[in-house]
């Protein structure tokens, strides 16, 4: 190589790895988590120590009691995040970016709330009527959510309208409608009618073992269903073909339009069930903020778990554990608000994204780069060529 010739080779070449063994990739992820956790707790402690004399260990015990003192609530929160991510998985597998899970869930929950509100008298007459109401709520939630999900999908399929932005906008349309209906239900006097059927409990899922028990079971069943649907059925196979290459799918004679719309319907249906759970088991009321930003967090979780339901469950648990622990810290030490948990979740995602890179790629020093010669030039004197590669 001519030493005088100017080259623009970068110091590192990025090379795609062959598949890393599973245990190694898990070790990398766990390490990333531990590093972020330590960093996060350091940030927490830096703020806590300004407001209180409690030591680090006292703060950590607050963290762990905060995360574990209400196990059913913790389980419910984990399941909710899991459900959002699972709802997004089938669509994602086709590279269809459904950013609208929030809106779809809200619309599903809204129709359930409306039914609970107006059919209260009917449902309080007998247990049978109440069961009828619950079934009706479930069916209509699923129907409305499917409708909300399928509108962008139809435009995507026929006109190639950008679904990321379309579904994103649909979230805000849904929040607006929820706000409006809340006023209508409250007869325009207040912002919302509050908890629906507080005394009659019509349309509420019954309490078995715990208030959240049935909801949790439903979500676990959905997760198992999606797992088998994606892995073992013809539909699941078609989804993965469309996701890998839509042209291949077309060439082998698959009806891609039908597959996309059918899959989005499934995604919407799961969102409908989540909406139903919000109305019948968790909140019994609705607001534009009912599901927070779980739809977005679900996207992150589903992506980072590489669509595997088991890993999704794992990441969901970690996230919820972290955020309930930190929210306890921020309420005990009066940190103002609970947003420190968002900061930590953001950091956690960044670190997982970085380690995804190291799982997929490896870096190789580039002996032909100017920087390399500058740094290692003296060492290489006499040894022409070096051992790196372009």
């Amino acid at each position: 190589m001519n030493e005088n010739k100017k080259t623009h080779a970068p110091l590192f070449s990025i090379i795609k790895r062959d598949d890393l063994p599973l245990y190694k990739s898990i070790i990398i992820r766990v390490l990333a988590f531990i590093i972020t956790f330590i960093l996060a707790m350091f940030i927490c402690y830096a703020t806590v120590s300004k407001k209180s004399d409690d030591g680090y260990i006292k703060m950590m015990s607050t963290f762990f009691t905060g995360a574990t003192n209400r196990p059913w609530k913790l389980a419910m929160d984990v399941c909710l995040l899991l459900a959002f991510a699972i709802a997004i998985v089938p669509a994602f597998k086709m590279k269809y970016w459904n950013m609208g899970a929030n809106g779809q869930v809200l619309m599903g929950a809204l129709i359930s709330i409306i039914l609970m509100f107006y059919l209260n008298d009917f449902a309080s007459k007998s247990t049978f009527n109440n069961i009828l109401l619950i079934v009706l709520m479930l069916v209509s939630s699923i129907a409305v959510s499917i409708l909300w999900a399928v509108i962008p999908a139809i435009f995507k399929v026929y006109f190639n309208t950008n679904e990321t932005l379309f579904t994103l906008m649909m979230n805000y349309v849904a929040s607006g409608i929820v706000g409006y209906v809340n006023y209508i239900l409250a007869k325009g006097k207040e912002e919302s009618p509050g908890i629906i059927n507080l005394t009659s409990k019509s349309g509420w899922l019954p309490t078995i073992v715990d208030k959240y028990f049935i909801a949790i079971v439903i979500i676990i069943l959905i997760t198992v269903f999606v797992y088998f649907y994606m892995k073992k059925t013809k539909h699941g196979y078609e989804i993965s073909v469309v996701g890998d290459s839509i042209n291949t799918a077309k060439y082998v004679g698959m009806n891609t339009k039908k597959i996309i719309i059918r899959t989005i319907c499934l995604s919407g249906a799961i969102c409908g069930i989540i909406g139903f759970i919000y109305a019948s088991s968790i909140n019994h009321s609705i607001s534009a903020n009912t599901c927070g930003s779980l739809g977005f967090t679900g996207v992150l979780v589903a992506w980072l778990a590489n669509f595997s339901p088991i890993i999704i469950a794992g990441i969901s648990f970690v996230l919820v554990f972290l955020s309930s622990g930190t929210s306890k810290i921020s309420s005990v030490y009066k940190l103002g608000n609970n947003d420190i948990s968002n900061v930590i979740i953001g950091l956690l995602f960044f670190s997982i994204l970085i380690c995804e890179f190291f799982i997929r790629f490896k870096l190789k020093l580039n002996s032909q780069s100017t920087l390399y010669k500058l740094i290692f030039g003296e060492l290489l004197n006499g040894k022409k060529g070096g051992e790196g590669q372009c």
């Binding site: 309208t161 607006g176 409006y180 006023y183 992150l300 103002g336 968002n342 953001g346």
Partner: protein, 319 residues
């Protein structure tokens, strides 16, 4: 009434305009940055820290307006660009998925603003805001013209200048052409000898910085320093992303678009409607965006489409 409405529409729209110019610049190199809401929050946080820094260095009395603006703008730009840097490192160098990185950045940015914001001193913001939010004196002597166009702070005029400059840069300069070509096909641009990574980094950093000024503008000018931690900058960020589509990736059109969006947002305080109807009014900008999205995709015209490689990372060794 109409005069006040138009003045308020411009004043509100500028928040979206900053976000939209920044996002356009980023999308033009093929990166869909869904972290804009978080970046705008970081900008707001930086701006407030800048104001506090100025006040701690000098005094609250006799504020030198121009110096305060330089301080707050520099901090806002740097904080937002730092958010952009995280995004750029992850998506450009580390090949992370753009949507996922963007959403993570939004979570992080909003969290940072609210968490750090609630722990810093906000007592001087209203005082400081007074020296930012009006550029011209005696503008009311010019009647309706003065009221609509001259009653704003310097950040309003700056945003329009930036929009024009960015339009000129993208359409009339060689570097602008290079930048756009990366958004259409990074492979081709790379083969032409254009430094794709460098352009992507620059566009993302500068774009994020500009978007961050939107957060600063909202806190220090639009609300007069009264709303900071509770500010719904996140929602405005999403509106900015919508405005980019609405203006079909043209910063010049987004000036008009921002006024339309601003008008739709503040319309509810100018007409006599019930709180319930206000909620319905809030969805109008989003509906309009959806319609634009649908119409542009149906018409499928060449010059109203998103950059062809939008959302796809460029990895040189992949064919």
């Amino acid at each position: 009434m109409l005069v006040a409405f138009l003045a308020a529409a411009i004043s509100m729209g500028i928040v979206y305009l900053y976000g939209a110019i920044g996002e356009t610049l980023i999308e033009k190199v093929g990166n869909l940055n869904l972290g804009i809401p978080g970046i705008m929050c970081l900008g707001a946080l930086g701006g407030v820290i800048g104001v506090n820094t100025y006040i701690s260095l000098f005094t609250v009395e006799n504020i030198m307006g121009w110096l305060l603006i330089i301080f707050s703008m520099t901090f806002a730009f740097l904080f937002a660009a730092l958010g952009g840097l995280i995004y750029a490192i992850l998506t450009v160098s580390f090949q992370a998925n753009q949507n996922v990185t963007g959403l993570a950045l939004t979570t992080f940015g909003v969290g940072c603003m609210k968490f750090i914001g609630s722990n810093i001193d906000q007592s001087n913001l209203t005082t400081a805001s007074r020296s930012i939010s009006k550029l011209f004196v005696n503008y009311d002597k010019l009647g309706w013209f003065g009221e609509i166009f001259l009653s704003h702070g310097i950040l309003v005029y700056l945003s329009i200048i930036i929009a024009v400059l960015v339009t000129l840069f993208l359409n009339k300069t060689r570097r602008g052409l290079f930048l756009r070509s990366i958004g259409e096909s990074p492979q081709t641009a790379d083969a032409q000898g254009i430094n794709v990574t460098l352009y992507k980094y620059m566009a993302i950093l500068v774009g994020s910085g500009i978007a961050g000024l939107g957060g600063l503008y909202y806190v220090m000018d639009r609300t007069g320093g009264t709303t900071f931690v509770e500010a719904s900058i996140e929602a405005f960020g999403w509106m900015s992303v919508a405005l980019v589509i609405f203006s079909m990736w043209k910063p010049g059109i987004s000036i008009i678009g921002s006024i339309v969006f601003g008008g739709l947002y503040i319309l509810r305080s100018f007409i006599n409607i019930t709180p319930a109807q206000i909620k319905l009014f809030e969805i109008v900008p989003y509906l309009v965006t959806i319609i634009v999205l649908i119409v542009t995709s149906i018409l499928n015209k060449k010059n109203s489409q998103p950059p062809a490689s939008l959302g796809v990372n460029y990895y040189r060794e992949e064919r």
